[in-house]
C-alpha cells in the first residue's frame, strides 16, 4: 500500500492494491504517513492459492477500479 504514496511523492500517479483482510493495515499505514484519507483498492483474500481461472476473474473484477483510481485520483 505504501508504494502508492511513495510514487505520488515522486510525481507518478499510482494505484495501490491490497487484499481485503489488510484494509485496516493499509489505513493504519496511511495514517502513520500522515495521509489518513489515502485511497487504495482491495480484492478478496487470499490470492496465493488461486487457479489461473480465478486470477483471470480477480483481475477482471478490479481492473475498472484501478482505472478509476488512476484517472480520478485521491480527490475525485
Amino acid at each position: 500500500m505504501l508504494d502508492g504514496i511513495v510514487f505520488e511523492k515522486v510525481g507518478i500517479p499510482a494505484a495501490s492494491i491490497v487484499t481485503d483482510v489488510f484494509m485496516a493495515t493499509g489505513h493504519a499505514m496511511a495514517q502513520s504517513w500522515g495521509v489518513p484519507e489515502y485511497r487504495f483498492l482491495a480484492l478478496p483474500h487470499p490470492i496465493a492459492n488461486l487457479t489461473d481461472a480465478d486470477l483471470d476473474a480477480r483481475a477482471r473484477a478490479i481492473a475498472p477500479e484501478v482505472v478509476r483510481l488512476l484517472l480520478k485520483g485521491q480527490e475525485g
Partner: protein, 347 residues
Amino acid sequence: MTTRISSQRYAVEDFHEALELCYSRGWTDGLPVVPPTEPAVRAMLEAVGLEPAAQVAFITNRQVAISAEKVAINAVMAGCRPEHMPVVLAAVEGVADPRWGYHGPATSTGGAGVLMIVNGPIARRLDFNCGDNLFGPGWRSNATVGRAVRLVMRNVIGTLPGRLDRGTVGHPGKYTYVIAENEAESPWTPLHAERGCRPEDSAVTVMAALGPHQFYNQLSSTAAGVLGTMCDTMRNPGMVGQPNYCVVLAGEHMRTIAADGWSKSDIRKYIFEHTTSTIAHLKRTARLPGAVKPEDETATRPLVLTPDDLLVVAAGGRAGSFSCYIPGWASRTSSQAVTTVIKERRA
C-alpha cells in the same frame, strides 16, 4: 535536564484509577502497567543523560520519530528501573536499524517476536537470566526490558494487533523475549564478540524470531550426535524463506559439544550441512510451488543462506537434555539480526 516533558498528562485520583486508565486507552499489552509519573520518567532519562526530546531512532517505514521521553515512559510502564534504560535504548536502536527492516517482522502475518540476546558485563550486573527456565518468568530484567521494547512498538510505532501487527497466530514471546548468554560457563566466544563487538562491551542482539523449538537428546556423548538430533528436528522449515536461526545450547548439550572440541564455527558448519532439504521434498510439502521435476529429487536447498546466519548462544539450565533452535522470520534478506553496543550514558 533542560527541556521539558512534553507528553500529554492525565490526572488520576489513585493507583487503581491509573491502572484502569492505561487499560482503557489501549496502552498495555494486556498485563497491568506501572503508571508513568513524571518523576519516574525523569529518573529514566537522568540515568542515561538524555534530554526528553532527544531522538533515539526513526522508523522510516512508519515515519515515526522515537524520542527518549517516549522510550522512558514505556520503560516505566514495563516495570524497568533506570539502570535498564541503556539496554532498552540499544534494543530500540536495533529494531529501528534498516537491516532489521521494521515493517516486515513487526507487521507480518508470520507473527515474529523480537528475540533479544544480552551479552557483556551488563548482563551480570543487571541479573539477566541465562540459566534455568531461560525463556520463562522470574527475572525482572528479562521480563521488563523486552516488555519495554514491545510497549514502544505498540504505543509509539503503532504496532497494534489487527492494524499494524497482523501476526496470524503470533507467540508468547511477543510479551517479552529476552535472554542472556551464559558467558561464565560457556567455553566459546560470546555472540556479541563474534558479531564485531569487543568482549568487554555490553551489547544486545535483536532478531525477528518465532517461538523456541525444543529438542531432546539424552543418549549422545558426541557433538555430532546431539546436533544430529537437532538438525533432524530443524530441517523442516517453518518459514518460506531462509532467515537467521538462533541455536540455544543448554548446559548438558553445551558440555557434550565442547568436550568434543567443537567451536561455534564447527557447530554452524555442521548445522548448515545437515539441514538441507531437496527441492522435491519442499514442493511435495507445499513449501515451494510447482510440480516436482526429476532434477528436484537431487537439487537441495540449505535451511539458511550461509552458516553465519546461525546465531549460536550458550544458555539454559545445567540439568536436562534439552536445547532449542529458534527460527527467524521470512528471509535474512528481508530482516537480519542486528547487534548494538549498549552505551551506559548518552551524555
